[in-house]
């Protein structure tokens, strides 16, 4: 009898879920930014906020690209320098430097980027896969977006937020 009960209940739950129909669009919204010479982008929904540089606290025993932690309205959040992470040289923060706070489920981290470009709307069909040479499960590249005059590397936020040391 309890099995029946379970069935009934789970069926009801399903009904509720179906009511909110998923309206998927074939336009992807991204936020573009520059690191070094390249333009990169991440999905706009994975960005919690973008803030101006801020003081942070160094954390010992971590790779150099983990700059430390900072206080985002009461939460202690790691700060990662994407320049260093992508193997570029260190650069002084300028007026255009921003921290992009990205989240993936419960994981949150701030990323230092050289400057923002713009919010980008791009059709799904204009996004190609990452070049074969860097394919594999380990890449942080999700795909390559093509626009009239430029190419944008789209990053995997969950990979960026993954601890790799």
């Amino acid at each position: 009898m309890s099995d029946k009960l379970k069935q009934v209940i789970s069926r009801q739950n399903k009904q509720q879920q179906n009511e909110s129909i998923d309206q998927s669009d074939d336009i992807v919204q991204l936020v573009g930014f520059i690191i070094g010479e390249e333009e990169y982008a991440v999905p706009i929904l994975s960005i919690q906020e973008i803030i101006k540089p801020f003081t942070w606290t160094r954390v010992p025993q971590v790779p150099k690209y983990v700059m430390g932690v900072f206080n985002l309205r009461g939460a202690v959040i790691p700060l990662i320098d994407l320049r260093l992470k992508f193997g570029l040289s260190e650069k002084k923060h300028s007026d255009e430097t921003r921290f992009i706070v990205m989240k993936d489920r419960d994981d949150v981290a701030g990323f230092v980027i050289d400057r923002l470009t713009m919010a980008i709307r791009i059709k799904k069909e204009n996004i190609g896969p990452a070049p074969d040479t860097i394919n594999g499960d380990n890449t942080t590249i999700d795909g390559v977006g093509k626009q009239e005059d430029r190419i944008i590397t789209i990053l995997k936020v969950n990979k960026l937020l993954e601890r790799d040391f």
Binding site: S2, K4, K6, V8, P60, Q61, V69, F70, N71, V76
Partner: protein
């Protein structure tokens, strides 16, 4: 959440609570077998669990509890005497029941445990004394499990119903149940008075019948009862036997309303997550409070004597007072009496004493002492190990005790009490005690310590050897202990909650283990220390003292730094060596040593400065940065910055492997001057003045030389430019009167940096007083130019100070 899961959860919560109480009662029952009150209580527990589990289709559990119920029922009616042997079987069945409940919790099913043997034994006990038992109870003993699900209320075949029908059926049953409940409650009120005179005999039959009949109706109960009303167990205990067992949960729900208003605490069950969330919010508030206090201090300094200050002061102190109270209040909601942990020990001692053939009495004191829930969960295991240890190694056998002139029965006392911000749990036994020499020899034998360490070891340190993994003095491994694992668990768990272990013992008289545990984990007192430009927080509970020392008090022994602290030698480690702090600032002649204590271990941590004591809220560094050795978390300070919290346990570990870098290292001053200058613009001068005109005048005076010039409008800006290290400055021109940071302070700050030690600082000011000049010299200025000055004079002073080569002058 799935509703079935919800029902199951409620069932489990209730069942675990009941079972916990059961253990205690059963042990007591053995001592007073004729206590009907107790028996009834126990019987009801078995019955409740049986009822609920049959509703939830846990056949194995139902099967088991049913047989337990039989035995207990017999005992209840005086048909069975509870002997220790009977008790062993009953206790075993309860253990099985716990195992089953655990399995249910983990897998939502009760498969995989074989209860048949235990059931058979239970059956033998209840069946053993003939056919006296009422047939109603005994007969369905075996079939019940198989029969009931089918037989209940002769319901229509659910499997063939459509889903809608099933729902309608559920609705119908619920309604039926509700009306029944109402009727019962009404009856209860009427029956209330009669209940006081218990007629156990006539009750039996109806109860058995009711029990059978009402089985299917049980369904809404496990769900409804715990939610609607907290279970006021006291009241059910106080009630008499005559209650039909199937009504008991009913009675629980109804009781507070009509009977024991006064004696029962009003409680509500709250999800721990909500409390955690509340605690987090309080944490935020404490941080905001700290910040407010800091701002208040700043404002006070700035507007000294202003009237509004007093009002501000008042508000700040009220806010901080209320915040503290609020924090305590919320902390209290998370507190559980330690009795929750202590409860299981009477049973354990009983089992152990039977197993070991010793006579042991357990005395529990202070079980009402309260501790944070998360800590209560952590200390259960350590206590088990300590008590097992006391029973096995501490307490002697009765013969030995008598021979030594002690009483036959050994005593173990378990005491909990508050001491300041800590809870102390003390476990004393009057056994043979620890012998420091034996411990040392054993440790030597096992290679845990070296000969030298053994010689230097004090008594207390020797006692702590029993906490080492792999250490055991037991001649042979018994069921109870001797594997050398248990006490290591104690150490790990206690250290996990920032606790301290203290062991005291006297050979032949007994030993005493004290666990000192902080009240809560979320908000702690911390000592903030500074090293270079960084700050770290050290939990105050691990800080024994702080000492100010001068550099020559530090000695090096076998490439490790040590110092003499009164009569002891304290090994030292620099916090900068542990946390890879870059040494930018020159360390002063004096340093502070924070003496950390953990158990009997001590370590001196050298820091540059002591910032002060502060209440901090522990925040996790999150998934990305977790597991950094030596860091326990982070906290947010009054100024909004993040400060890392030192993990003292890990730090002690790290310290063992850190090579001391010499404190008095004369840094190779890679001085700016030594750089080859090939053209005039290789010389860089910083001009610090808040007036734009003045900066302009200086710039004009120096431009002719071709030197590179950098401007800053006040001390702070200048300092920041220096810190960034973009330029290599050969000299600085500094105005004295500036907002934010004046010239004297700037000069003092600059001189703290090794790399700028040699840089000439030139004061350019309209202050001409002698005392001004004196201050200038004190703060490290080499020249003092008074405004107004001629351009040539300024230029020549600068050129002289940077050794400007004249050939660059065009």
């Amino acid at each position: 959440m799935d509703e079935f899961q919800e029902i199951l959860q409620d069932f489990l919560v209730e069942a675990f609570e009941l079972v916990e109480k059961l253990d205690e009662d059963l042990v007591e029952l053995e001592a007073t077998p004729e206590d009907l009150e107790l028996l009834n209580g126990i019987f009801r527990v078995a019955h409740t669990i049986k009822g609920a589990s049959s509703f939830l289709n846990f056949d194995v559990l139902t099967h088991l509890t049913h047989h337990m119920e039989d035995v207990l029922n017999k005992a209840r009616h005086g048909e069975l005497i509870i002997t220790p042997d009977v008790m062993d079987v009953v206790l075993e069945s309860i253990d099985l029941m716990k195992t089953l409940l655990n399995i249910i919790r983990d897998t939502s099913s009760d498969a995989g445990v074989d209860v048949s043997e235990c059931v058979a034994r239970l059956d033998r006990i209840s069946g053993g004394d003939g056919d006296v038992p009422a047939p109603v109870v005994a007969a369905p003993a075996v079939e019940v499990v198989v029969d009931e699900p089918v037989a209940e209320e002769a319901e229509p075949d659910y499997d063939n119903m459509s889903d809608d029908d099933v729902e309608a059926e559920i609705q119908r049953l619920l309604e039926q149940r509700q009306t029944e409940d109402k009727a019962k409650r009404a009856a209860k009120v009427a029956a209330g008075e009669e209940v006081l005179a218990p007629p156990p005999e006539p009750d039996e039959e109806t109860s058995a019948q009711n029990a059978k009949e009402s089985e299917p109706e049980k369904k809404p109960e496990p769900k409804a009862a715990p939610i609607k009303a907290p279970v006021p167990r006291a009241s059910t205990n106080a009630r008499s036997i005559s209650d039909d067992e199937d009504l008991s949960s009913d009675a629980k729900a109804a009781a507070p309303a009509k009977r024991s208003n006064a004696s029962v605490d009003q409680t509500i069950r709250v999800d721990v997550k909500r409390l955690d969330h509340l605690m987090n919010l309080i944490g935020e508030l404490v941080l905001a409070k700290n910040r407010l206090i800091k701002i208040n201090d700043d404002v006070e300094e700035r507007y000294e004597g202003e009237e509004f200050l007093e009002e501000l002061n008042q508000v700040v102190s009220i806010v901080s007072l209320v915040t503290t109270d609020l924090q305590i209040a919320v902390m209290k909601t998370r507190m559980l009496p330690i009795g929750k942990v202590f409860n299981k020990f009477p049973r354990m001692i009983r089992d152990l004493s039977r197993e070991l053939n010793k006579k042991i009495e357990l005395i529990i004191k202070g079980e009402e002492t309260e501790l944070d829930k998360s800590i209560v969960e952590e200390i259960g295991d350590p206590l088990v190990h300590i008590i097992r240890n006391s029973c096995d190694h501490g307490i002697e056998t009765p013969e030995v005790r008598l021979a030594n002139g002690k009483t036959e029965t050994g005593t173990i006392s378990l005491t909990a009490y508050n001491e300041g911000n800590q809870i102390v749990i003390q476990i004393d036994d009057d056994g043979k005690g620890l012998d420091a020499d034996i411990l040392k020899n054993k440790a030597l034998e096992k290679g845990i310590i070296s000969e030298k360490e053994a010689d230097n070891m004090g008594e207390k340190e020797a006692f702590l050897l029993i906490m080492k993994p792999g250490f055991s003095t037991a001649a042979s491994v018994t069921n109870v202990s001797g594997r050398g694992v248990g006490m290591d668990v104690v150490k790990t768990n206690i250290e996990k909650v920032n606790g301290i272990i203290d062991i005291d013992s006297e050979t032949g008289v007994g030993s005493s283990v004290k666990l000192k545990i902080p009240l809560t984990l979320a908000i702690i007192q911390a000592l903030l220390v500074g090293v270079q430009e960084e700050a770290y927080a050290i939990p105050l509970s691990s800080v024994l003292e702080t000492v100010r020392i001068s550099k020559d008090e530090i000695y090096t022994v076998e490439s490790r730094s040590v110092m003499r602290l009164r009569d002891d030698v304290l090994s030292l480690v620099h916090i900068g060596d542990i946390f890879e702090v870059e040494r930018i600032l020159d360390s002063s002649e004096h340093a502070y040593v924070v003496v950390l204590g953990l158990g009997a271990q001590k370590l001196g941590l050298i820091v540059d400065s002591l910032v002060g004591q502060e209440e901090i809220v522990i925040k996790s560094l999150g998934e990305y940065l977790k597991g950094i050795k030596g860091i326990a978390g982070a906290t947010i300070r009054g100024d909004g910055g993040v400060t890392l919290i030192v993990d003292v346990v890990a730090l002690m570990e790290i310290a063992k492997n850190v090579k001391a870098t010499s404190m008095i290292s004369d840094q190779k001053s890679e001085s700016a001057q030594s750089r080859e200058k090939t053209k005039a613009s290789d010389y860089t001068i910083m001009i610090v003045d808040d007036s734009k005109t003045d900066r302009m005048i200086m710039r004009k005076s120096l431009e002719a030389t071709g030197m590179s010039l950098v401007e800053a409008s006040d001390g702070l800006e200048a300092l920041n430019i220096l810190k960034q290290g973009d330029h290599h400055f050969d000299a600085m021109l500094i105005d004295i009167e500036m907002p934010r940071m004046d010239g004297y302070t700037l000069a003092t700050e600059i001189k703290k940096y090794n790399r700028y030690k040699q840089m000439p600082l030139i004061a350019v000011t309209s202050r001409t007083g002698k005392s001004d000049r004196m201050r200038g010299v004190e703060s490290g200025m080499v020249e003092y130019i008074t405004k107004p000055y001629s351009a040539d004079y300024l230029s020549s002073v600068v050129q002289r100070n940077v050794n400007f080569k004249s050939e660059f002058l065009s």
